[in-house]
Each structure stands twice: as structure tokens, then as C-alpha cells.
Symmetry: C2
């Protein structure tokens, strides 16, 4: 299987960690987002939506969308530890609830805030401050919902004792605003504790996937001093 | 099971059709979005995210997010016809691919365009035309992707011969811009054919779920004349 990704893409990092944690054999192929490699005709043959992450299975079968890829891998690799997506229907439904909710909350809020601040994506040339305000509001509402709803009584987002795929995906998303110098943990102790718990549970793979991200975060923190 | 919904909410309508088509026993409870019923403390106890659709199972267990609800129902009701989510992992993955893709494409484009045009939601008081342009662009890109990618060689979005849940969800989404007088089918013959195919496959339930929507569309078309 070929896994196409970029370390600046948050769902790419989530799948990177998931593949490594579960010893799923894959050829890891970096796609240059900054150089526009994903927009080339060649890459369009790999993913018709021209985004990362995506996979091409051994026989050439293709799949895009991180959550769809995660679900597909669950059906293909029996060695995957059950904690990532337990078979109990209600536990699975609670994980699904987060995986669907995140698109227009965590993902939209954190990723668009990051894009506006870094002047990339569809809002790059938007001088109007109101865009930033709306997406900052959405991002902060999302972070408050993490603190006061998702993590109110639980150690992990959708499960009690063990990490699930929802946690990796979420943690990777909240790294995006951190790269702009925004402190997602300020005034949110539960979020911080959960984040450390996720990192602990993913061994060294979390940091391995975030090598470039961590350098950008360190730089943005230095710039603030 | 209690099913909370509103006929103006596109995923509510999709689940309404799915429940009816598969004879899933449920108490259908309308939640007044225009009156702000979803924002009440009482409804917060039913869905902590204060949105529709959501379900409360017989023993009080709660679940939000239409796609998560759909998946959960698939595990609970053996009478559900297999075409909605066939068990073959790759067919299922292709459906999943659409179900994840739609959030920040169909859903974001069509729903936000509708909200801006109708002056509801977070963009209600936004006088800046650039918001409208961005979301109109996203909506039209999505509709082009339906025409030229999803429906390029297929009768349905993710499956070849029979309708899946992806099709109902998608059809319900593209009704949102239709309510503003926008003709989603103009210059998109495959989209129109697919739409008729979806309606045919959902018997009278599609029209039943869209009674109010159809009245709004008829009114907006009359206003254009």
C-alpha cells in the first residue's frame, strides 16, 4: 500500500501515527503542498480531489479522506489493536460522533484560523478582519467544547480508558493554531491533560509525526517573546 | 427510539427518509429551529450540541451527528436493506469517502450559501459580499465535482446499481441552494438525472420529507418570474 501524505496536513499526521502504531506496512510518500505537487495532473491520477492524505492499495485501488481510510484499514489489518475502534456498537457510535462532528468544528475552526493567519488557502488574500474573527470564534468555541463537553467526565474524547482514533485526529488538529503562536491550552487544563495523555499513549510516534510542526511552534513562541 | 429533527435541516430529512424506507420504529419529534427550541436548556439535555438531527434510544442513550446515527442504526436493525451500506469493505469505503468528503464540500458550500442568502446563522449580519462570493464559489465547485467526478461514470455517488445512504444525504443537501432560487441543475445534466434517480428510488418518502422545502422552492421560483 502507498500512503501519500504531508507533515503539515493534520489528518496526514493522524494517519501516519495510526499506521506506525499498528505496524501497517505502507510506503510513505510525501506530497509537496508548498510546491503545489498535489495540484499536478500526475497527482490527480492518484487522488481525484488533489488532497492528502490518500492511499493506493497494492492492486491500484484508491481511497481519499482520512476517516474513510481509517475505517477501511480497520477492515484490512487484523493486527490493529481494538482500542482504536472497539467493536461495541455504542462505543463505536461515540467515536463516530466525534469523527463526524470534527469536520465543521475542530477541523474548520482550527485549520481555517491557521490558513488565515499564515495567508494560505482560499482566504489568503482576504483583507477583511471579519473572516478572522468568525473563524477565531469558531475555533475558540470548539476548544471550549473540548474542555467543557467532550472532556468533561472522560479521559479520552469518546472512550473512557483507552485512546481511540478520535483522539489522534483531534490532537493533530489543535496543532494548527499552535503553529500561529496561539496557546490552545491557556485556561483549558483538561485539554492540556488530555493532550499529554494522547502523546503518552502514542509513544514516540506523535513527536515523530510532528517534527516539522514542533519546529514551527517553537519559532512562533520565540517570536512572541 | 426518539428521533428529533426539523424539515428545514438537510441531514434531518436524509435520516427521515432512511428511517421511513427501512421501517425503523421511531417517534418523530420536530424541534423548532426558527423558534430557537434547539437552544433551550431542555433540548441541551437531549443533544449537548443543540442541533438536529439526534436520537435518544429506548434506554435513554443519546447520539448526535447524522452520519454517526446512520452507522449506529445499521448495527441495530437487521431489516435495513443492504444497498444502503453494502458489507463489501471497498464499496463501504467508497460510501465512507463521500460521507466524509461532503462535510466541507457539499454541506459547507450549499448550507452556508443558503444561510447567507436567507440571512440566518453566523453570517446573517455580514454585509460583506466577499463571504457570499467565497461560499458561492465553494458551492459551485462542489456541484461541478458532482457532475464531473462523482457522477462521471456512475449512476449513484459511490455505488453502481443501487442507491446508498450517500445519495440521500447529498440530494437533501443540494435542496438548500434551491430554496434561494438557485438552479443547481442548469448546465449539469448528470446531476439532474442522478437527482431524479434518487427520488425514484426513495418512493414517496423523498417528497414527504421535502413538503415544506418544496413549497419554499416553488415560492422562490415564482419570485424569479
Amino acid at each position: 500500500m502507498k500512503f501519500y501524505y504531508n507533515p503539515l496536513s493534520q489528518p496526514s499526521r493522524a494517519l501516519y501515527i495510526f499506521l506506525k502504531m499498528n505496524n501497517i506496512p505502507a510506503e510513505f510518500i510525501t506530497v509537496g503542498l508548498q510546491t503545489g505537487e498535489h495540484l499536478s495532473d500526475e497527482f490527480k491520477e492518484i487522488n481525484r480531489f488533489q488532497k492528502v492524505p490518500c492511499i493506493v492499495d497494492d492492486d491500484g485501488w484508491k481511497l481519499a479522506e482520512s476517516v474513510a481510510i481509517f475505517r477501511y484499514l480497520m477492515t484490512q489489518y487484523p493486527q490493529i489493536s481494538t482500542n482504536w475502534y472497539p467493536s461495541d456498537p455504542r462505543t463505536r457510535a461515540s467515536i463516530d460522533e466525534y469523527l463526524e462532528w470534527q469536520h465543521n468544528n475542530t477541523r474548520l475552526g482550527c485549520a481555517i484560523y491557521f490558513q488565515i493567519m499564515k495567508k494560505i488557502g482560499p482566504f489568503a488574500n482576504q483583507p477583511d478582519e471579519s473572516f478572522l474573527h468568525i473563524f477565531k470564534f469558531l475555533m475558540e468555541s470548539t476548544l471550549e467544547t473540548f474542555e467543557n463537553v467532550w472532556l468533561k467526565e472522560k479521559k479520552f474524547l469518546a472512550t473512557d480508558d483507552e485512546i481511540s482514533f478520535a483522539d489522534i485526529l483531534a490532537a493533530c488538529e489543535i496543532e494548527q493554531p499552535r503553529m500561529t503562536g496561539y496557546d490552545v491550552f491557556e485556561g483549558r487544563p483538561k485539554l492540556k491533560e488530555w493532550y499529554e495523555r494522547v502523546k503518552d499513549a502514542t509513544k514516540g510516534y506523535y513527536d515523530e509525526a510532528h517534527a516539522i510542526v514542533n519546529r514551527i511552534i517553537a519559532k512562533s513562541q520565540k517570536a512572541k517573546l
